[in-house]
Amino acid sequence: MSRKHKAFRGNSVSVGTEAVFHVILCVFAICCIIPFIFVIIISLSSEESIRNIGYSFVPQTWTLENYRYAFQKMPQIWRSFFNSVYITVLGTVISTFMCALYSYALYRPDFKYRRFFTFFSFFTMIFSGGLVPTFVISRQILGLGENYAALIVPLLVSPFNIIVMRTFFMSSVPLELVEAARIDGAGEYATLFRIVAPIAKPGIATIALLNALAYWNDWFQSLLFIHSAKQLQPLQALLMEIQKNAEYLNKMAGQLGAAAIMEASKMPSQSLRMVLVVMIVLPIACAYPFFQRYIVSGLTVGSVKG
């Protein structure tokens, strides 16, 4: 690098080095998004094209037939979509509410049992009863199994989220405000919902998003708790079921009746799975540009101060 150039660029790396950095980062960044684009293309490929040339970035024929087939002939897909939305909405509201309440009490330095409850949630991060005792007790004592509760309750509380939320309260809400509210005669609930929550909105939004993603992406609770009640399956579980059992798609069409079995032979089974994948990822991808900012600020707070 010439001296003149160096002076111009100040305290930066050389142009050549920067170009190398760009190439490395760019290749990886493209790698991260390409599979999703590929899956969208597959979901728009005709079944004959897939049979002829396999999954390809340039299918022989493009078609919307796979989507039409999925939405018209497969009621289970609608049902699962509804389940996913229902579980996500309900779960997110309840879990965010519980997290805000618990974190608010831990945020108050004058809460008598603050240390105890901090430890109470923190300890579950470093020790647990294990998968099997948790399952057996949830199933046999708490009655979680073959119902919506089994898909919502096990994800309600996350000690990590509690730490993030409490840190958010501590860093964004001055204690003087809480005290001023008390002088004005506001109760604890009023203080939390009218004064603390509006200020800590970004933090609450972060937690709500983390919860929403956890519910939308969850398949493990279905694997554990939903065996016979297939009508409760969310999309993720449906997709797994297809993976486990390639014949499952055929069975789903078979439920429609004898006439549909004829139809089943025409079923675009290869691309249908990819339709499901798109149905799961597309909502995340659409909301992503809006929530990314919150998640970045939230997770940074949580991991640095955790």
Binding site: T17, I24, C32, G54, L131, F135, W219, F220, V304
Partner: protein, 324 residues
């Protein structure tokens, strides 16, 4: 843990004892929902650890959980002994630890390198775009990721398979061939998590006071020396925290990754079975509650010791970087 960050607030108003009691009670009602959840879904199962020392049988006369538990025989360490006779135990343990070590090492090197590179880019918009794209996989489930991979390596229609076929090469039967899986697993994990960790490190780097770099530059430090002596030391706390958290979890595997990405194919178990999937498999295939609880108990005790140990170790080196 920043448990002591807030000093006890002075009781400036001199609240009466009654008012203080009332306040405590109200705050207790706030912690109650999550506390009850933790009690039922976290602490009660810790009591369920006794199952590891029982031969759990369903009591036909009264098949409720407690009656089953009381009527099941104590068998001491019998449930643990089977582990040493089962050759899957060693495989699962080896896979769990080795994969985690690879994840930890690469999971520090790659994101730190990416974050440093991104920080050196002179445009401001482009690195934002890279970051946005790289962060995306973090928000997807492993079920979805397994299909992303499937689209490339499906033995029937996969893109790579088709390319091999077109080139007249022998087609790799990916889901039956153990060879490439250690690399696929590590790649999948990095693909999904690197964006997130890069973002964590980058936010720390951008938070470094720029006068530190300027001072170093004036003293004649090259860019490389600035990285070594300014950037890396500033990242130390972050690296230490993530390192402890991961060492503490070295016996815990990411169930979703190892269950979904290999499409749960029996032919691959040698290189994809980890402790968590093994526990689930024992539980679902043999329905042996005692044995699967026993394996889980060993795993949890080992993790607990690891976390405490790693934390104590970091505390000794650097007091501020420890978690608790």
């Amino acid at each position: 843990m920043a448990r002591n960050m807030l000093k006890e607030a002075p009781n400036r108003l001199g609240m009466s004892r009654l008012a203080r009691h009332k306040k405590t009670l109200v705050l207790l009602t706030m912690v109650a929902p999550a506390a009850i959840w933790l009690l039922l879904l976290r602490y009660l199962p810790m009591g369920g650890i006794v199952l590891a020392f029982k031969d759990y049988k369903v009591n036909p006369r009264n098949p409720s959980f407690f009656s089953n538990l009381i009527h099941s025989k104590w068998v001491g360490w019998k449930n643990f002994r089977f582990i040493f006779k089962n050759n899957m135990a060693a495989i699962a343990l080896r896979n769990t630890v080795l994969y985690n070590l690879a994840f930890i090492i690469l999971g520090i090197i790659i994101p730190v390198a990416f974050a440093i590179m991104m920080n050196e880019l002179t445009h401001k918009f482009v690195p934002k775009a890279y970051q946005t794209l790289m962060f995306f996989p973090y928000f997807l489930s492993w079920v979805v990721v397994s299909y992303f991979l499937y689209a490339f390596i499906s033995s029937q229609y996969g893109l790579i398979t088709a390319a091999q076929r077109d080139a007249g090469e022998a087609v790799t039967n990916w889901y039956k061939n153990t060879g490439p899986w250690p690399y696929i697993i590590v790649f999948a994990k990095m693909w999904k998590d690197v964006g997130y960790t890069t973002m964590l490190y980058l936010s720390t780097i951008t938070g470094i006071d720029s006068t530190q770099f300027e001072a170093a530059a004036i003293d004649g430090a090259s860019k490389w020396q600035q990285t070594l002596y300014v950037t890396i030391p500033n990242l130390r706390t972050m690296i230490a925290i993530l390192f402890i958290m991961n060492i503490g979890k070295i016996f815990n595997a990411d169930f979703g990754l190892f269950w979904n990405v290999p499409m749960n194919d029996g032919a691959l178990l040698n290189v994809t079975e980890v402790v968590d999937t093994w526990i689930y498999r024992i539980f679902t295939t043999t329905n042996n509650i005692g044995q699967s609880t026993a394996v889980g108990l060993i795993q949890n005790v080992a993790s607990f010791i690891c976390i405490i140990g790693a934390n104590a170790f970091v505390k000794k080196i650097d007091e501020d970087s420890s978690m608790f």
